[in-house]
């Protein structure tokens, strides 16, 4: 069971009521994209699911209530997390970054190096000296090393050069084939390519849930996301 059900989730940070009763469902073996303008609470939602931002309400992962659980226990239930801005450990080598993340008895290094062969040649390099794209590969690899039931991925193409966006998007499409995934992404082309469901947030609440075919509708995209549907 790898479905995720969020009900009436509230998060307050430094007195600001960021999430105001968020409800949505992430079905098993499907990719769900969490969309919305900047600052509507998408990353906060992912962090709340991970237990990094304490929240109230209900979050059920595979039927288990995780809302008050410590982060490391939530992760051990089978949740992989790729944070916004990568958050790789800059002073550690690529190999150390990966071995720190490995918690399964047999971490899947082969799959990770097959997906990102570039990392294999840089195992001894300090992660802080990698390019943005390579750092993103490390961040994604950390989540893929273990047999996770769900992947939470926060803006994987943010700040990457167009060529690297294509490379990361290709990898995500490959992963999406056989995973349950909740992805926050501003790149609508990528969302259209991999997502089976979309959730749109505005001002700390979910305002739309449906299929990605809605993203073909220019007026929907403009009204919901405030961007032009063609490229963003």
């Amino acid at each position: 069971m790898s479905s995720l059900e969020v009900k009436d989730l509230h998060v307050t940070i430094n007195g600001s009521h960021i999430l105001q009763g968020v409800n949505f469902f992430v079905p098993e073996n499907k990719v769900t994209a969490l969309l919305g303008r900047n600052g509507v609470g998408k990353s906060t939602t992912l962090k709340a699911i991970m237990g990094l931002n304490p929240g109230t309400g209900s979050i059920k992962f595979g039927g288990t209530e995780i809302v008050a659980m410590p982060t490391h226990k939530i992760v051990r239930l089978g949740m992989g997390y790729v944070p916004e801005d990568r958050e790789i450990f800059a002073s550690l080598t690529v190999k150390e970054n990966l071995s720190l993340a490995a918690r399964d008895e047999k971490p899947n290094y082969e799959m990770v190096y097959a997906l990102f062969p570039e990392l294999l040649t840089r195992t001894g390099q300090r992660a802080g000296t990698l390019s943005g794209g390579q750092q993103q590969m490390v961040a994604i690899s950390r989540a893929l090393l273990n047999q996770n039931k769900i992947l939470l991925i926060d803006e994987p193409t943010k700040g990457l050069a167009p060529k690297l966006v294509t490379e990361v998007a290709k990898s995500l499409a490959h992963i999406a084939d056989h995973s349950t995934m909740l992805i926050v992404e501003q790149n609508l082309a990528l969302v259209k390519a991999i997502a089976q469901n979309i959730i749109v947030m505005d001002q700390g609440k979910v305002v739309f849930e449906g299929g990605p075919e809605n993203l073909q509708d220019e007026s929907f995209v403009k009204s919901m996301l405030g961007v032009s549907g063609g490229h963003k």
């Binding site: 991970m50 990094l52 410590p70 982060t71 490391h72 992760v75 051990r76 997390y81 944070p83 958050e87 450990f89 800059a90 002073s91 550690l92 150390e96 071995s99 720190l100 993340a101 918690r103 950390r142 273990n146």
Partner: protein
């Protein structure tokens, strides 16, 4: 030349003692953001344990009994640090002002209890006879205890760096110093790393306490407080969370202090404060700092 060499080696010896006090402080602050004012108490507990071993358990001092005293002092201080972390600090994570206040409280309680029990006069810690001898290097006559401080600090420095570099818990500590919440987001219970760091820090301070008792010619309940100030200065200059930074800063401060005291009588502490101010103004994260809480 002989005076220069004497001052240099004495400065390195003093720096070695500063390192033993500062290394744990640096790791504890770097990983957990805990400003641990009780660290001086760890040092004092180590010193009193060493005194007890050296006077009651093995009253005829030999090299081995002294080594045992140092080890016992380290273990006692490490266990006390662990106990304090489990009973007090775990309840106050992310409440930094409360942590600072409670560690000040622990420090005052330990000083008062030891003072009430043993009195505040310094007690002599017996050492093997050869500790009081001097070695001749060139024209310089150097007390051998300086080499013991340097040797012990070097062993602990290598041990700490090896733990950090080659063990899983060391990897977690290094990563935690950089980004604690991301470590937990990888499914790692970072609390184990916190406890390890407290124990290692307490151990180093305890061993330092026994050696400082030799350097200062006595064990006193008040010794922790005065050395803690230097510990904090070393941590700030070296950079929070960096063992190598602490080692470099400890040497810099120890050597500068000794030279300044010799050439500009009594101004050693003043020069140390100047170094502290210069680092704070030019590189607030310290020489090799990794975190800035």
């Amino acid at each position: 030349m002989s005076t220069f060499l004497l001052i240099l080696i004495t400065g390195i010896g003093l720096g070695a003692l500063y390192f033993l006090v500062a290394s744990g402080l640096s790791l504890i602050y770097g990983l957990m953001g805990v400003l641990n004012f009780a660290h001086g108490a760890f040092l004092t507990i180590g010193a009193f344990t060493g005194l007890w071993i050296a006077t009651k358990v093995f009253p005829n001092p030999t090299t081995w009994t002294f080594i045992f005293s140092m080890f016992a002092g380290g273990i006692a201080a490490g266990l006390f640090a662990l106990l304090m972390e489990q009973l007090v600090i775990t309840r106050l994570y992310n409440r930094h002002i409360d942590q600072a206040l409670v560690t000040v409280g622990v420090s005052l309680v330990v000083t008062a209890l030891l003072g009430g029990w043993f009195g505040f006069d310094a007690r002599f810690l017996p050492t093997p006879l050869w500790f009081t001898k001097a070695a001749t290097i060139g024209d310089a006559i150097i007390p051998v205890d300086r080499f013991i401080y340097i040797g012990v600090a070097a062993i602990l420095l290598i041990a700490m760096l090896s733990i950090l570099k080659f063990t899983r818990i060391g990897l977690i500590i290094r990563a935690g110093v950089e980004n604690r919440s991301m470590v937990t987001a990888l499914g790692i219970n970072v609390r184990l790393a916190f406890s390890t760091v407290f124990f290692i820090g307490g151990f180093a301070a305890g061993v330092g306490g026994v050696l400082i008792s030799v350097f200062s010619y006595g064990v006193s309940p008040l010794m922790g407080g005065s050395w803690l100030i230097y510990g904090f200065i070393v941590v700030v200059v070296g950079g929070m969370g960096s063992i190598a930074g602490s080692a470099i800063a400890a040497m810099l401060i120890g050597i500068t202090n000794q030279f300044a005291n010799y050439y500009v009588t009594g101004l050693g502490d003043f020069v140390v404060v100047i170094i502290l101010a210069a680092v704070l103004l030019t590189k607030p994260t310290g020489l090799l700092g990794k975190v800035s809480h």
